[in-house]
Amino acid sequence: MIRLTGIERVFRVGDEEVHALRGVDLAIEQGEYLSIMGPSGSGKSTLLNVLGLLDRPNAGRYELNGRDVTGLGDDELARVRREAIGFVFQFFHLVPRLTAEQNIELPMVLAGIEPAERRRRLDRLLAEYGLEARAGHRPDQLSGGQCQRVAIARAMSMGPTLILADEPTGNLDRHTGQEVMAVLERVHHEGGTVAIVTHDPEIGARAHRRIRLVDGEVVEDKKE
């Protein structure tokens, strides 16, 4: 479903060239649950951004659902992101002035979905993530765990093929982190493809496939 071949990503810092990714080859099948681990600066966030089409590789080829997305224009990339990819961030990134419900609705608003259809999906998502009682609250009135549940519901609202989570528990206490992981794993059990970038070996170990990056290269790729 996802195939990366020879992905290179080079940043220019002053006069120096920093290779964030060096010839990464990676194939991810539908329904996989994988974690990407590695020390700071190993390129794991860059890999996630490339997977999420937020960053373009300098070289290599990226196939998503059998389609080469490497050379697509900005607008087309935005459309693919909207329809096929859901993001979950460490700092939740909820819009502070919008309610939980309006935050979940955002991707559907951007996609121009009919209000009636949005309402239908919203009701389902709010129920699924246990947010019915909090629908009208703004982020500053929600706990960290609730914020991340809102973010996951938002990521799921367009029914994406791939969920990308960047340190989803990094800003939460242990107990809430476990809860959020359970929610993400439920997405996986329902057939979703989930990729998690994390520092935490315990979180990383929960995934069925564990990838280790060092200096922009895949040094370990273990499947259970």
Partner: protein
């Protein structure tokens, strides 16, 4: 993104930063209100002057004895003789011009008007029956001077409303007699109240037949001749004809001055219109300032909402979506500001109108259209740069920064 969603999104932004929104609305509102109020004052002044001239009558040409020269001294003084008088025969000869519809020769003097023991000094106008049509005045009661040969007169007069009230009080005046100097006149009509017209109050005059005035003031010389041209287009012809006819009658001397009301009116109209535009333009500068304020605020918004913009992009917003959101926000601010400004400007105009009821203060239509339009155009223009900057924001950078 659906249009209603775009509006809702911008509305949420405006509601989310309330102080900021109110400040911009204030700036925009002041700008628009200033343009509307200032141009209303200018337009009021213009209409006031135009009405004053308009009340003299339409298509009016005024003939004055003597010639105003740019040389400084009157030629008559240098030659040792006074300019030739303008006479009734001169006036009547003007009717030969095909462009002239009516004429009203005029003699003006001050007379001691008496009724029984009451007396008062008033301006006395000697003229003919056509005067009332040339000046476009209305009769309140009775009728105006009877038509007939202007060289012979009946002992009748028409008086202004104020004169009637002062000399007769509430008594009926038609058919009563009054005395001017040593002559008696029967009152046949009272002029309708008209008030001030270029400093000359028609409520305070007494109008007598021309021949009677000639006898009263012992003069043949006319004060001036009012001529009504057949149409607006004929005014120029009438003026040429008048000059030619009088020149022939005065042995080749061009010793009259012909003023067309149109020319005077047009000059005033032009000057005051230009003045209104200029002052309105100065007020419009505040609109530009409000536009710059919007740009400033939008630029701050791009920095302030970096993360939000990055997030929107990650969620699949295109550059166009981001730009549209910024422009919608700017236009909504401008529309809101313009609406506030128009309301405040209108109130201001009403307030000034209360203070000076004589002057017709109305904002000209172009100001009412141009002010909000300028507000919208400036805010859109000044949003181009911030919106572009927002649309170009790199989502990875925007999201990674805390």
């Amino acid at each position: 993104m659906r249009f209603t969603d775009l509006l809702r999104f911008a509305w949420q932004v405006l509601g989310g930063y309330r102080t900021r929104t109110l400040l911009i609305l204030l700036a925009m509102g002041i700008g628009v209100a200033a343009v509307v109020a200032v141009s209303a004052i200018g337009e009021g002044a213009r209409l006031y002057v135009v009405n004053q001239f308009g009340s003299l009558g339409t298509n009016l040409v005024i003939v004055l004895p003597g010639r105003s020269e740019t040389a400084g001294a009157m030629p008559g003084v240098l030659m040792g003789k006074t300019p030739r008088d303008l006479t009734l025969d001169d006036a009547l000869s003007l009717k030969r011009s095909p462009s002239v519809l009516r004429i009203a020769p005029l003699i003006v003097g001050a007379g001691d008007v008496r009724v029984g023991s009451r007396s008062r000094e008033t301006p006395v106008l000697g003229t003919t029956a056509e005067f009332i049509q040339v000046r476009q005045m209305d009769i309140g009661q009775g009728r105006f001077l009877p038509p007939g040969d202007p060289r012979h007169s009946q002992p009748v007069c028409v008086i202004g409303a104020k004169v009637a009230a002062e000399l007769f009080g509430p008594r009926p005046v038609l058919g009563e007699w009054l005395r001017i100097g040593d002559r008696r006149f029967r009152i046949v009509g009272v002029l309708a109240r008209q008030g001030q017209s270029l400093g000359f109050n028609t409520d305070e005059i007494v109008v007598v037949p021309l021949a009677a005035a000639q006898a009263l003031f012992n003069t043949e010389a006319l004060f001036r001749v009012l001529v009504e041209a057949k149409s607006r287009e004929q005014i120029v012809n009438a003026k040429q004809d008048i000059e030619e006819i009088i020149r022939l009658r005065h042995e080749g001397e061009r010793d009259i001055t012909v003023i067309t009301q149109d020319a005077v009116l047009e000059t005033f109209d032009r000057i005051l219109r230009a003045l209104t535009l200029a002052v309105g333009g100065i007020a419009a500068i505040s609109l530009a300032v409000a536009g710059i304020l919007i740009m400033n605020v939008m630029l701050i918004a791009v920095t302030q909402r970096r993360k939000e913009i990055g997030l929107l992009k990650a969620l699949g917003a295109t550059g166009r979506h981001i730009r549209a959101a910024f422009f919608t926000e700017a236009v909504m601010l401008a529309l809101g500001g313009a609406a506030c400004g128009l309301a405040v400007g209108k109130l201001g105009q009403l307030a000034i109108g209360q203070a000076f009821p004589n002057i017709p203060f109305t904002a000209p239509w172009w100001a009412v259209v141009a002010a909000p339009l300028t507000a919208i155009v400036t805010s859109v223009l000044f949003t181009v740069v911030p919106a572009k900057r927002a649309a170009m924001l790199d989502p990875v950078m925007a999201l990674s920064k805390r």
